[in-house]
């Protein structure tokens, strides 16, 4: 595979649609454990992202992701804006000047994880969106991407797992033991992002 400018743009368009469709779900999850604005913020952020990339010309997917980073940072707010902004900024840095094949994509995701760990001062296994990103990275390391839709199953399993554990960091940690039984909203929003990516890769694989 190779992630092209068009695919990166399409990834963001599909992500926007997913956040729009699932705004209520994310908001509901966030109301259960946080302040209930995650769905609204993500939908608003990705709408702005799609508008921004529609009016810009890009030569390389790294430039698309940089635009995404700057827009999310400015439009999402709260903690999610800086976290996702950092993730896309770091991915962009890794991809810069390179052909974005599976290996580079994995390295980009790893660098996104490093950035988010530092930004959120948290580690993998603390019931945050990092768990989802970590599993996607492992998947890219071990599988050949001939069935990109498998990414969705991998992410789904992680999100399901977040229901069972007590959060120690991130949104869900505010409630301690009350966080058990709820999917972590940040993990859920990362799930939608990778679901969108999987769909783009799937489309490309079947062309």
């Amino acid at each position: 595979m190779e992630l092209t400018v068009d695919m990166a743009i399409n990834w963001m368009e599909i992500a926007r649609d997913k956040y729009k469709e699932n705004k209520e779900t994310l908001t509901m999850l966030d109301q259960a454990i946080g302040d209930g604005d995650h769905g609204i913020n993500m939908a608003r952020g990705y709408q702005a992202v799609v508008e921004k990339i529609a009016e810009t010309e890009y030569d390389h997917p790294a430039d698309v992701l940089k635009s995404v980073a700057m827009t999310l940072m400015a439009k999402v707010g709260g903690a999610s804006g800086p976290l996702y902004g950092t993730a896309f900024m770091n991915m962009s840095m890794v991809m810069k000047g390179k052909t974005v094949d599976q290996k580079v994509l994995k390295e980009a995701i790893d660098h996104a994880i490093t950035g988010m760990k530092q930004r959120g001062k948290s580690e993998i296994g603390e019931k945050t969106l990092l768990d989802v990103w970590d599993q996607v990275s492992s998947y890219l390391d071990s599988e050949d991407l001939s069935e990109p839709k498998e990414i969705i199953e991998v992410c789904q399993a992680v999100v399901e797992d977040t229901k069972q554990i007590q959060a120690t960091k991130g949104r869900a940690s505010y409630l301690n033991e009350r966080s058990i039984g709820h999917e972590d909203p940040g993990s859920m929003s990362s799930f939608y992002l990778f679901e969108a990516l999987a769909e783009v890769l799937e489309k490309e694989a079947t062309v």
């Binding site: 302040d35 400015a74 707010g77 903690a79 804006g81 800086p82 976290l83 960091k169 940690s173 505010y174």
Partner: protein, 333 residues
């Protein structure tokens, strides 16, 4: 307006309209950076000092715009109500007040604020600006909260602005200003309580419910839960609860302190002064000498009714800095 009883026009426009109102009320005091929610200090002379930037969610007025001016901050960044401003806005503030000696960010410890300010710091550093930050976490009520890892930053932040601002005005280096700010942070503690909630305009309903005869001890400035909820008690008893919790955390005995009695938005001055009398009585009994007192609204929470008490242990350097000239909307000394 679905029953929202507030003197506003549009819930989504409150921050923008407030900024416009501030600029009209105080011409000559501030400059607005175009297309941002940043107000900077207007100066007739070319400033040659460390730039000080603070900010956070709106709804805490006079924080932080009331502290922009000579002897305090150089810029205040307005976020949406109770929401951190975004890094792009903070970055504009940093760029505007970098007079060549670097910029200090004064951040209240909330997860969103810390992340957005840190990101702005990295962006500014990438542009070659020297930036340092301090994080204020003065609230002794709870260790972790709805919006923080660690303690929350509340009214004690104002004293950090004051001391760091005075230090910067002397022409001190970025490192010296940061050290002065950190000294305040290490010696300041606060504790608050509320007797009624507040309503974020865009949310449309109160952030929590308190019965008519209840109060909540240790509440946060966004209505985050505190330590416990009890029947309302007298000012004397409330003062004792707040002060004792602070004294249990930090030893102020046999030292000189500055006292800040802060109304949360809807508490009459009469009640603040009554509480001040009780606070000072307790401090005197505990051998704490009061060097300076401020009573009023410094870090509010929209129309929340309640109060916070802040104590700062002073040394000679801080006393000298407190004696310096300050000219902002809230402080003119």
């Amino acid at each position: 307006m679905n029953g929202l009883k507030k003197l506003i026009n549009h819930p989504e426009q409150v921050v923008e309209e407030m900024i416009e109102g501030i600029l009209l009320a105080h011409p000559g005091r501030f400059e607005r950076i175009e297309k941002t929610t940043v107000l900077t200090r207007k100066s007739t002379v070319q400033l040659n000092k460390v730039g000080l930037v603070s900010g956070g969610g709106s709804g805490h007025e006079p924080a932080h715009v009331g502290y922009v001016g000579e002897g305090m901050l150089d810029a205040a960044v307005f976020g949406e109500v109770f929401t951190s401003p975004t890094p792009d806005q903070i970055l504009e503030a940093i760029k505007a007040v970098d007079y060549g000696k670097g910029v200090l960010l004064i951040i209240k410890n909330y997860t969103g604020d810390v992340m957005n300010f840190e990101m702005a710091q990295e962006l500014a550093e990438a542009e070659g600006i020297q930036v340092e930050k301090v994080i204020v976490a003065d609230d002794v009520a709870v260790e972790d909260s709805t919006f923080t890892i660690g303690r929350r930053g509340i009214a004690g932040t104002v004293l950090v602005h004051r001391i760091a601002g005075a230090m910067a005005e002397t022409g001190a280096t970025l490192q010296e200003v940061k050290e002065a700010a950190e000294k305040v942070i290490n010696n300041v503690r606060s504790m608050g309580m509320a007797i009624s909630a507040c309503t974020v305009p865009a949310a449309g309903k109160p952030s929590f419910q308190l019965a008519d005869d209840e109060m909540e001890i240790g509440i946060g400035i966004h209505g985050e839960p505190g330590i416990n909820r009890t029947k309302i008690q007298s000012s004397k008893e409330v003062a004792s609860i707040l002060v004792n919790k602070i004294l249990a955390d930090f030893n102020y005995e046999n030292s000189e302190v500055a006292v800040l009695i802060n109304g949360l938005g809807a508490t009459p001055e009469m009640e603040l002064y009554i509480l001040n009398k009780e606070v000072q009585r307790i401090l005197t009994e505990k051998n704490v000498a009061i060097y300076k007192t401020w009573v009023g609204e410094y870090m509010t929470s929209l129309e929340m009714s309640g109060v916070s008490v802040t104590l700062l242990k002073l040394d000679n350097q801080m006393k000298e800095l407190f004696a310096q000239k300050v000219n902002t909307l809230t402080f003119q000394e």
